[in-house]
Subunit: 239 residues, 2 copies
């Protein structure tokens, strides 16, 4: 009876934390979406909003950390329960980093708005951001449902993001070589592309946590690495 | 008597984990140093070694995570003791990321060795890497000594790294505009510079953990942000 009482108190605590994770996830999804849109439409006001809202994401991470520590101290969970609590610390840290990258994207919107547009790039970046946002939504669903298959699927999809990034990287090299006046804008756009690719890596880390949570082991398959710009010497544009 | 027994068992556990953290820190320092040297001297063999050694860093992180979970489950630490155990999880995650960036730097050495050298850049990057390596050494000392002043000092020094990065960024823009044949190499070198700047951010995160550990609160002062390329519109080179 007493054990059951303790167990359900733990479950309630856990639900509270998970609700915060979902709230945090929702804010981060919105930050990605709005940052990418502000970049594409050169909407400096929206970019400013994204920057301002990042504070709420940071505060949620702190609250989740404190709540997790409180639950560990109070309930002394072991085995799977402890794993559950420790995983929220990792997941919230990943969400916070993704939020940071979205904020950084929004910051650069203001600078890019002062430069000549680079042909089609913001649209390509937005497609990439949209894919990352969808992956984030799915990985949070996988977390709540403890759906290991969905988590594996999200990990696989990160390769698409990496391929989008590789294509954009090559495109930027071409633009810069064609016209040196594109160089500064392309450097900023490239930052954004790389940061979006990194967001995908953090979503993948969350997927790994879900797999760890359900199976008790980190995924066997080494994390697919799709950014080939660091290993492929033929990265120079073909045109 | 029993409490004391438990307390000293906890202390022994903690010492074991801290020893692993220091071992991990040593491997990461060496990775930064060797990666930067391989870049400067175009030593592909050394770069390959750095890449190969990253696995040991990843394994240490996993061991530290498992050990921390084991200690929490077994000793049920509370308050400051719990904070201590949770902090090693965060610190080892930061060390793992820094190791990843060093590995990435080493990867790019092989590509850059196939391109014409860009005047003086690897030396500037190595200076930046050396500063990050020194900061890492100091922050790990601050951690072991629970030295909050040293941790604050490390946080301040991250601004120097950010300034070095800003200078290198501007230099690369100049090189690319002067000669489009520099563009591909500069894009890779810029990656390395940005990743080194990010290593500094992760060292700063460790410093924040040390401050949290000693004082029970995260540092008040917002983390100094020195990468101005995301906010300063006058980032285009003056020459």
């Amino acid at each position: 009876m007493s054990n059951q009482h303790i167990a359900s108190a733990f479950d309630r605590d856990l639900e509270t934390i998970q609700a915060r994770i979902m709230k945090m996830g929702g804010l981060v999804e919105r930050a990605i979406s709005d940052a990418a849109r502000s970049l594409e439409t050169r909407d400096e006001e929206l970019a400013e909003e994204v920057r301002g809202r990042d504070k709420a994401i940071d505060i949620l991470e702190e609250e989740i950390n404190e709540e997790a520590a409180r639950v560990i101290a109070l309930r002394a969970p072991t085995a799977g329960d402890l794993r559950l609590v420790l995983s929220v610390i990792k997941i919230s840290a990943n969400l916070e980093r993704i939020g940071d990258y979205a904020k950084n994207m929004a910051k650069r919107t203001s600078i890019l708005a002062q430069m000549s547009p680079v042909n089609g790039s913001p649209a390509a970046l937005r497609r990439m951001a949209r894919e990352v946002e969808a992956m984030l939504k799915d990985v949070l669903d996988a977390y709540i449902q403890r759906d290991i298959n969905l988590a594996h699927e999200v990990m696989q999809r990160d390769q698409d993001v990496d391929q989008m990034y590789n294509a954009i990287f090559r495109e930027f090299l071409t633009f810069m070589m064609e016209d040196p006046r594109n160089i500064t804008a392309c450097m900023h756009l490239h930052f954004i592309a790389k940061n979006t690719e990194r967001m995908g890596d953090h979503v993948t880390s969350i997927a790994e946590q879900v797999i760890y949570l359900v199976s008790g082991a980190m995924p066997d398959d080494p994390r697919p690495k799709g950014d080939q710009t660091s290993t492929n010497p033929s990265i120079a544009p073909t045109s």
